[in-house]
């Protein structure tokens, strides 16, 4: 039986086409992926992300525990700030990628992938029980209590205060939601209930993510009401995937799994090797120093071709062409009008400008390795 979010009926009413994702019944699109994608790039889009997991880690030793469990350095986080980070196993393989916010000195909110909630909670709980922290760290899986929405796009700042009314008293203190800076989180009131609002997202556009124990349906409806005049459209997982692929943001299960490390995935920026010991550090430090055997690259198709898809083969070019890797994400880019993707190849093929071929139904189509992100916002002026 698939799980449903509190917004399930709202999706049905809006004519959303529902599919299975990570054990959840979620809308893949309402009208079309193209239209929803363009809405986010040019105006605004509203996503149900209630399937994502929320875990609260608290206690006097919470910071120490998290810094030994995650790759990025949580000590850098002032209260009210968030960072992207990864949770690795001893081999450096990725258990999950997540966003962590510091709510107060001894309390953190972790936003984790829907498909990884059980693994993450079990991993952290076991580490707490077997480590020196025991009674000083509490791991609480709050996933079933939270609904969540993401509202994304360049025009969101023009209407967000019409839904999230008033100030945040902390941890980031601002007069209005639109005053939050990137990666900042505040507690606001909505219908006299406390909700979390963060200036974060997964689309490459400006925007906010709202986490609320109750009231998520009312928040969704209010956002649609105040956002429609600014071009806000409800958006499904289809557009969420094309938007994040253009930005080269990883998706767990595609770019990331327990057999790939953050270094191999090109996420070394989020691995703080200098912060002291943490799970996976030995392997990651060695990879950083000696290099890796595979790297996750971004590519664009160079000729008119069918879009690349996950599991298609990647080939080198020329007389001695051979199979060198596989596509992990691939789609038609709605912004660029060509096929784009990411895949793992040996490091000698990872340099931007390297010609590669993608095997599409037995035929090889030309592509080129490009810098991440694949899509950059056109500069105005």
């Amino acid at each position: 039986m698939l799980k449903r979010t509190p917004l399930f009926e709202a999706h049905q009413k809006l004519g959303g086409k529902l599919i299975e994702f990570g054990g959840w019944e979620m809308p893949v699109q309402y009208t079309s992926i193209m239209d929803e994608h363009q809405a986010v790039r040019t105006a605004a889009g509203l996503f149900d992300i209630s399937h994502m997991g929320e875990v609260v880690v608290s206690g006097p030793q919470a910071e120490t525990f998290l810094n030994q469990t995650l790759t990025n350095d949580v000590r850098e986080l002032a209260a009210g700030r968030g960072q992207y980070t990864l949770m690795c196993n001893e081999r450096g393989g990725v258990i999950d990628d997540l966003y962590i916010f510091r709510l107060m000195r001894t309390e953190f909110l972790l936003i984790i992938n829907a498909s990884r909630i059980n693994q993450d909670v079990e991993w952290m709980t076991q580490r707490v029980a077997s480590g020196p922290y025991a009674s000083d760290v509490k791991v609480t899986n709050a996933s079933d209590r939270f609904g969540a929405v993401a509202v994304q796009g360049p025009r969101v700042k023009e209407f967000i205060n019409g839904c999230i009314v008033g100030y945040s008293a902390g941890p980031t203190e601002v007069d209005q939601a639109s005053d939050l800076q990137k990666n900042e989180l505040g507690l606001f009131n909505f219908n006299r209930m406390v909700i979390y609002v963060a200036r974060t997202g997964y689309t490459g556009e400006d925007g906010f993510e709202v986490f609320a124990p109750l009231q998520i349906v009312a928040i969704w409806n209010k956002l649609l009401e105040v956002g429609r005049p600014f071009g806000l459209n409800p958006c499904g997982l289809g557009a969420r995937d094309t938007l994040r692929t253009e930005m080269c943001y990883p998706l767990y299960g595609q770019e990331l799994d327990e057999h790939a490390t953050p270094i191999e995935a090109g996420l070394g920026f989020f691995v703080a090797l200098d912060k002291g010991d943490f799970v996976g550090r030995t392997v990651l430090a060695e990879q950083k120093e000696k290099g890796v055997s595979k790297k996750c690259v971004a590519f664009k198709m160079t000729d008119k071709s069918a879009p690349p898809r996950p599991h298609y083969g990647i080939w080198s070019t020329g007389a001695d062409a051979k199979h060198i890797g596989g596509v992990v994400s691939g789609t038609q880019s709605p912004s660029l009008g060509i096929g784009i993707g990411m895949g793992y190849v040996p490091p000698q093929f990872a340099k931007p400008g390297t010609a590669i071929d993608i095997e599409i139904r037995g035929k090889r189509a030309p592509a080129v390795v490009v810098q991440k992100p694949i899509y950059r916002k056109p500069t105005r002026g």
Partner: protein, 127 residues
């Protein structure tokens, strides 16, 4: 409300064929294009290829997925629609007109009896 022209025969897999003598024109239905959404790429069979009814012989790709297109009838491909290859959106905007896939010389007219009438197709898609 989906468009189901009365002068066509339909396959359960959502293709249509318009028969004129021994020649058929094949495409996908309005319902199919609506379900696929935003067609971004069309791959058509080579002219001269012999296909059997039910054989996968073309591919239509939306943003999200690639879908096989099955020939509703057997025969030899005599022409393909280059306009749909150049402008795949025609499959969405004119599924029964400019978005056709290929013309086929029918090798077995009796097969047409295995296809669905407009009424049966309408019932199949629950309209």
């Amino acid at each position: 409300m989906t468009n189901i022209p009365s002068d066509l025969k339909y396959a359960k897999s959502h293709e249509w064929v318009r028969v004129n003598g021994h020649t058929g024109v094949v495409g996908i239905t309005d319902h199919a294009q609506h379900e696929l959404t935003d067609v971004v790429f069309v791959e058509l069979p080579a002219v001269g290829r012999q296909v059997k009814a039910g054989e996968a012989c073309a591919v239509v790709e939306s943003v999200k997925t690639a879908s096989d297109i099955y020939s509703p009838v057997s025969g030899q491909i005599v022409e393909v629609n280059k306009a749909a290859v150049d402008n795949p959106a025609l499959v969405n905007t004119e599924p029964y007109g400019g978005g056709w896939f290929y013309k086929i010389q029918l090798s077995n007219l009796a097969e047409l009896n295995n296809l669905l009438s407009p009424e049966s197709y309408k019932a199949q898609i629950g309209q």
